[in-house]
């Protein structure tokens, strides 16, 4: 079976509709973008390639960090009962609830060398974690985290506890039950959460603006570059950016399909 066919077969009705809609939007974006490229805006590649590769440099490690910590937090929330569990879940979900700029403000409080906590963090790490790539990665990780955590929790809770009991009766330790039974069985839900988290990290704007500072050539990611392009006469730059984002989104969708098969 080809990957495309396996992908198509594993998609449910609603997912299919979503994919069709997404593909139409992406296709439209690509067509529009390429039309303008042919019109002479290819010279802007140099302008947008920096933000594009910076976005990947930020989003990939941010997705890994949010994925690993989100799965761990989701596992604890799904499996453990302890005082303050609901508080912990609410705190973990705050980046969804609060405006990104508020998240950025709190991150600045924690990371900026000028604050009490930030000063300690800076001394421990050895360098500042704001207005550089590290700050952008932290902001994108925080934005992506709740999606990974909530999807992992839900997927782990959906695993039949009898299968885990059977594994324990086979003598598997709790950590081996988690790694060889629970997480593999929850992998589709977890993968969906990581995909959404990755998309969130790719498109992160508000917190990245505050923690990264929108420094051209240093912390200006695609999302920031789009807004910047509106204030310049070269609006075609934005079109090329849209194309690059569309390609990135398609890759994300492709990864989602791969994980489902």
């Amino acid at each position: 079976m080809t990957r495309a066919r396996a992908f198509a077969l594993t998609l449910g009705g609603r997912s299919k509709a979503a994919i069709v809609a997404a593909t139409a939007l992406i296709g439209g974006g690509l067509g529009f973008g390429f039309a303008h490229l042919m019109d002479g805006s290819i010279e802007y590649w140099g302008v947008v390639s920096g933000p594009f590769f910076l976005t990947l440099r930020v989003a990939i490690p941010a997705t890994v960090i949010a994925g690993v910590t989100g799965i761990a937090a989701g596992y604890v929330l799904a499996k453990e009962r302890f005082p303050g569990r609901d508080v912990l879940e609410t705190l973990g979900s705050l980046p969804i609830i609060l405006p990104p700029t508020v998240i950025g403000f709190y991150l600045l409080e924690v990371l900026s060398p000028g604050t009490r906590v930030g000063g300690i963090v800076t001394r421990v790490v050895g360098h500042a974690l704001v207005y550089n790539v590290a700050g952008c990665i932290i902001a994108a990780s925080v934005a992506a985290f709740p999606f990974c955590m909530r999807a992992a929790r839900s997927a782990i809770e959906g695993v039949d506890p009898k299968v885990e009991q059977a594994a324990r009766a086979m003598g598997l330790s709790n950590s081996r039950v988690a790694l060889r039974v629970t997480l593999p069985l929850a992998r589709r839900g977890i993968a969906a959460g990581i995909t959404i988290g990755c998309a969130r990290a790719l498109g992160e704007y508000g917190a990245t603006l505050m923690v990264g500072g929108d420094i051209n050539g240093k912390t200006r990611t695609l999302s920031l570059a789009i807004l910047d392009s509106f204030t310049t006469p070269e609006r075609n730059t934005m079109i090329l950016i849209l194309v690059l984002m569309a390609v990135t989104a398609m890759t994300g969708v492709g990864l989602l399909g791969w994980s489902r098969t």
């Binding site: 009898k162 299968v163 009991q165 594994a167 009766a169 086979m170 598997l172």
Partner: protein, 239 residues
């Protein structure tokens, strides 16, 4: 002589009160009674999936639960094998992998798979070793589950209504397989059923339950075994 299993526990869940005491030696002990009598709860207590309110449980003389001394050995530490009603195989693993995972981890991967394959052969399931549980029939899944329950060299194997989800023809055939393989392995077993015929066919001793109490106990005399141990189950079309 030390019993294979010694149970003397109480446990209350809502309005239901379980208060049972019995000992089991070698062979298959059947816990028999109507649904809701507390048979499966007893099995969960023996497996360590549920803690007793009071009392003790000992497997081969080793105390695994003792509420007075605050002893509660985890399910993993009890060295038990379990066979559930609907198999409960790991759906993302092949039949062979399911059994191999239960083989003691002190052995190498290759050896574990060889041991698992031998167990699948013993229960007549070698033909579908590489298949996933979703592609197996109910009877085939229970054969694999039985192999998995025994592959870890357990001190005791627990079977929770292993045949109740199967049709009558498959049930009859699997009764023979279960009895042959468990008795052949020499591992003591506790089997739960509400089917009187099944209790008679499978048990060396039948412990009757009613409303959370043991109300009767009867040993079943069987002719001495003449066939060799670890005999292969009958070949032919498998259920």
């Amino acid at each position: 002589m030390t019993s294979a299993l010694d149970v003397n526990v109480t446990r209350r869940i809502g309005e239901f009160d379980l208060d049972v005491a019995f000992a089991v030696d070698s062979g298959i002990a059947v816990l028999f009674g109507p649904s809701g009598a507390g048979k499966s709860l007893t099995l969960a207590l023996i497996a360590g999936l549920v803690r007793p309110d009071t009392g003790t449980i000992a497997i081969n003389g080793r105390v695994v639960s003792d509420t007075d001394r605050n002893v509660h050995v985890t399910t993993q530490g009890r060295r038990i094998g379990m066979v559930f009603q609907d198999g409960v195989l790991l759906p993302h693993r092949s039949a062979l992998d399911n059994v191999a995972l239960a083989v003691r981890q002190t052995t190498g991967r290759k050896e574990r798979r060889a041991i698992a394959r031998a167990w699948l052969e013993r229960v007549g399931a070698e033909k579908f070793a590489d298949r996933r549980p979703s592609s197996l029939s109910g009877g085939q899944r229970q054969r694999v589950a039985l192999a998995r329950g025994l592959a870890g060299e357990p001190a005791l194997v627990l079977l929770d209504e292993p045949l109740s989800a199967l049709d009558s023809a498959v049930r009859r055939e699997l009764r023979n397989v279960i009895r042959e393989v468990i008795v052949g392995s020499g591992v003591p077993a506790v089997l739960v059923t509400h089917d009187a015929e099944e209790a008679e066919d499978l048990g060396d001793v039948v412990i009757a339950y009613s409303d959370g109490r043991v109300i009767a106990r009867r040993s079943i005399e069987r002719p001495a075994r003449t066939e060799p141990r670890h005999e292969r189950p009958p070949s032919g079309e498998l259920p």
